[in-house]
Symmetry: C2
Subunit: 215 residues, 2 copies
DNA sequence: CGGAATCCTCTTCGATACTG
DNA sequence: CAGTATCGAAGAGGATTCCG
């Protein structure tokens, strides 16, 4: 049985870290931010982690009600892992980690480091401030050479999809770098448009309002 | 030399965790939130951590410019560790960890778990929302049987002191439990006063305004 | 195929003893 | 007091196997 090493401190920080402070754990949470995933989907995004260790971590998280294991569909025997409401609360922790990570001296992107476009989606989702345009609704296509991301603006936040095509109201087009600047609040949409870095089409008003939610 | 194990992922979360995700690291940051500390001050608050490991962690943090080592006083040979501006940015991460930790199913306080009053001060400092009363200034004494904490309200946030006596404008008195409810936003000052759990004196208006910054 | 269990090696941790 | 050295214990990483 996993006896879960603990700091044994009567402190909320230490308490939290007892549950999600171990190696790999927060990266597992990151993987589940965009929705439920299966064991086999998690593994390739966690290169270097053994299958046994992933099993252990998933069990720990499950016993602490941070995630839950459920059938992919009602009568299926295939299982998927999903954040519980408690686990979703970790969005706030991840958001601040992203913010802190952004301002870090950027090490030159080492060639042996893994990259998954979904990680950008996680950042976009978490950095989006719906309160800046609470009533906004619609779908924006974020198009670059590398990927086509559909951002579906809904009442309960931003839903992001990279794998399926959706009908969309507006399009923002450009390269990854410019989008990064936009989403991370380093440049405004107007700045990037006037620099010819980004281009908008369709419902441009929607696109503008949506983009203003990142600054 | 410390070769600092890395996740090797082009993701801001993973990048951040490469620096501050290892065991004990965030607890060291917690210790430095209230101000600089010496090696010997850190150790007893990190029970179970070997001295060698603390040395290693401090060096890692120093090379990544999260903390810096400096003389206690200009010409002293005694050294202390202090957060850099980059390190101070981790306040946001710690704040969210505290918030998440608070809503965790409270395990019965195990007898072998360590408790340090300073950890409460860290929580108070980080949960205080100055923007709720931006112009407030003064000193509030938070008095319980266990401790006398001076909260000095300043422009750049809350300064907290448990070791020295200060002149104060207002006093809030009660037991630790009630204070916890107040600071963690679970109860309002008015509620706690009407329950006879807390008592205020001195500049009660200041005390009320200050207390409202936690809800 | 998904994922749990087993082994084995290597690294990190934890605790204590030691040194400038 | 501030760290270094050491060593057994625990955990991580990788490959492989087993089972439904």
């Amino acid at each position: 049985m996993s006896k879960a090493r603990s700091y044994k401190q009567a402190c909320n920080i230490a308490l939290a870290l007892d549950l999600i402070g171990e190696r790999w754990t927060l990266l597992i949470i990151r993987e589940l931010i965009l929705g439920p995933k299966r064991f086999g989907d998690l593994l390739p995004h966690l290169q270097g982690m053994g299958t046994n260790l992933l099993t252990t971590r998933l069990k720990e998280l499950e016993t602490h009600a941070v995630i839950e294991k459920q059938p992919c569909s009602p009568n299926s025997r295939r299982m998927q892992y999903k954040l519980t409401p408690l686990g979703e609360g970790l969005e706030n922790v991840l958001r601040e980690l992203i913010r802190w990570g952004i301002q870090l001296p950027q090490s030159p992107p080492s060639p042996d480091s893994l990259y998954q476009p979904e990680w950008d989606l996680v950042a976009i989702k978490l950095l989006y401030k719906r309160e800046k345009a609470p009533k906004l609704e619609g779908t924006v296509l974020i198009k670059s050479v590398e990927s086509s991301i559909y951002a579906i603006i809904a009442k309960d936040g931003l839903q992001l999809d990279i794998s399926t095509t959706h009908t969309h109201d507006a399009t923002i087009e450009g390269n990854r770098d410019s989008f990064e600047k936009l989403f991370k609040g380093k440049s405004s949409l107007n700045q990037l448009i006037s620099q010819n870095s980004l281009k908008i089409s369709g419902n441009t008003s929607l696109a503008r309002k949506w983009a203003s939610c990142f600054s």
